[in-house]
Symmetry: C2
Subunit: 201 residues, 2 copies
C-alpha cells in the first residue's frame, strides 16, 4: 500500500542506535511474552481460559506496559541525547514510530490517519515481533488485544514528557484485521510547574 | 578469571545465526521480563510481596521456561540444520552455552564444573540480559531465582532430544554471589522407541 519512502532522519537515527546496543533474538522475546500472556489468560480470576477475563488481561498488559514506558523513556533519551522535545504531535508520532520502535523492537511503525485536529494518529505495525508464532485461542479471538503492552508503553513513556494520551488497538492482524493499528489520542499537555511562559504555539 | 580462548566452532556458528535473524533490544526483553516477574511476585497467592511466595514464583518461571524450551528447540534446529545430536554431555553443554545462548540471548555462557562422572555441568553466565536493571526486593533477596525461566528452557529443550535433566541455579549475582551459575544434571537418556540398537558409547 504505502510507497517505499526514503528513510527518514528519525528512522536512520533509530537504526544507528539499535545497531550499537545489545540485542537478543526477536523469537526469544516473542516466546517469553507469549508464555506470560498465556499465563495471564489461564490464571487470572475464575473465568480463566473462557475468554471472559480478556478485558482484565488487556488491562493488566496495558498497566505493565505503562510501567515499562516510564522507564524506557529514560533509556530512549540516554541513547538518543540529541533528541529534544517534540514540536508537535506529528513530530512525536514519527519519533515513536520510526525511532522508538526501531530502537527497541527493531522494526518501524508507519504513522497514519491523523485526525483533522491533529490530536490523534495511528501507528500501523506491519511487523510485530511480539506476535510471531501466535494464534489466539478461539474464546479470545475477538476480545484479547494480544500486544496491549505496547499501548501501555506509549502511554507511560509520553506521560513522562508531560503528554497524557489514550493509546489502544483498533485492529490486530491476530484478530483477522487487514493490519495492526495502534491509535494514540492526545488528551492533555501537562504544564511543567517550572516551564517558562513562552508557549507560543 | 577465565582466559580468553579463541572462539569455538559452536560460538562462531551461534554468532552467525544470531547475526542473520531478527532481533530486538536486550533492554526491552529485560524490562518486559522484569514487569512479568514483578507481577508474579505481587499477585501470586495471599503471601504476595512478602517473599513467602518466592518458591511458587520460582516454580512458575521454571514451568514457563519449560514450555518455551519445548518450542525453542525446533527454532534451534531450523536455524542450525547442520547441528546433529550431541555425542556426549560435554558436547551438549558447549552447544547450549556457546551456540544456544548466543543464538537467542546474544551472549555466551561458559561451561564449567563438570562432575567426575561427567553427568553434570554448570553454565557460568557472565552477562545475563534478563537481569539488567534488576535489584531484588529484600524479602526475595535470598529466595527468588530471578532468571529461573532459563532453567526451564534448558530442561524443556533437552527433553525434546530425549535427555531428562534437572536444571537449577546455584548462584546468582543478583543474590550477591560472585557469579551466576546454572547447574544442569543429566538424569536419564530416554531411548527412542525407533532407535536402532547401535548405541556403542
Amino acid at each position: 500500500m504505502a510507497g517505499k519512502a526514503p528513510q527518514s532522519l528519525h528512522a536512520k537515527q533509530g537504526e544507528n542506535i539499535f545497531a550499537k546496543n545489545p540485542k537478543v533474538s526477536a523469537e526469544l522475546l516473542a516466546l517469553t511474552y507469549g508464555a506470560f500472556v498465556h499465563r495471564l489468560i489461564k490464571d487470572e480470576s475464575s473465568t480463566s481460559g473462557t475468554g471472559e477475563n480478556a478485558e482484565e488481561v488487556n488491562a493488566i498488559l496495558d498497566k505493565m506496559g505503562y510501567n515499562i514506558g516510564q522507564r524506557i523513556i529514560d533509556e530512549f533519551f540516554a541513547k538518543a541525547p540529541s533528541q529534544g522535545l517534540c514540536r508537535d504531535l506529528n513530530d512525536t508520532a514519527k519519533v515513536i514510530g520510526e525511532q522508538g520502535f526501531k530502537m527497541f523492537l527493531g522494526v518501524t511503525a508507519e504513522v497514519a490517519n491523523f485526525d483533522v485536529e491533529a490530536k490523534a494518529f495511528s501507528l500501523i505495525i506491519r511487523e510485530n515481533p511480539l506476535a510471531d508464532f501466535v494464534i489466539l485461542p478461539s474464546p479470545y479471538a475477538n476480545k484479547l488485544w494480544y500486544s496491549n503492552i505496547l499501548c501501555g508503553v506509549i502511554r507511560g513513556a509520553l506521560e513522562m514528557v508531560n503528554m497524557k494520551v489514550a493509546a489502544y488497538f483498533r485492529k490486530d492482524i491476530l484478530r483477522g484485521h487487514d493490519c495492526t493499528e495502534l491509535r494514540v489520542e492526545l488528551k492533555e499537555i501537562v504544564k511543567d510547574k517550572y516551564e517558562e511562559d513562552d508557549d507560543d504555539k
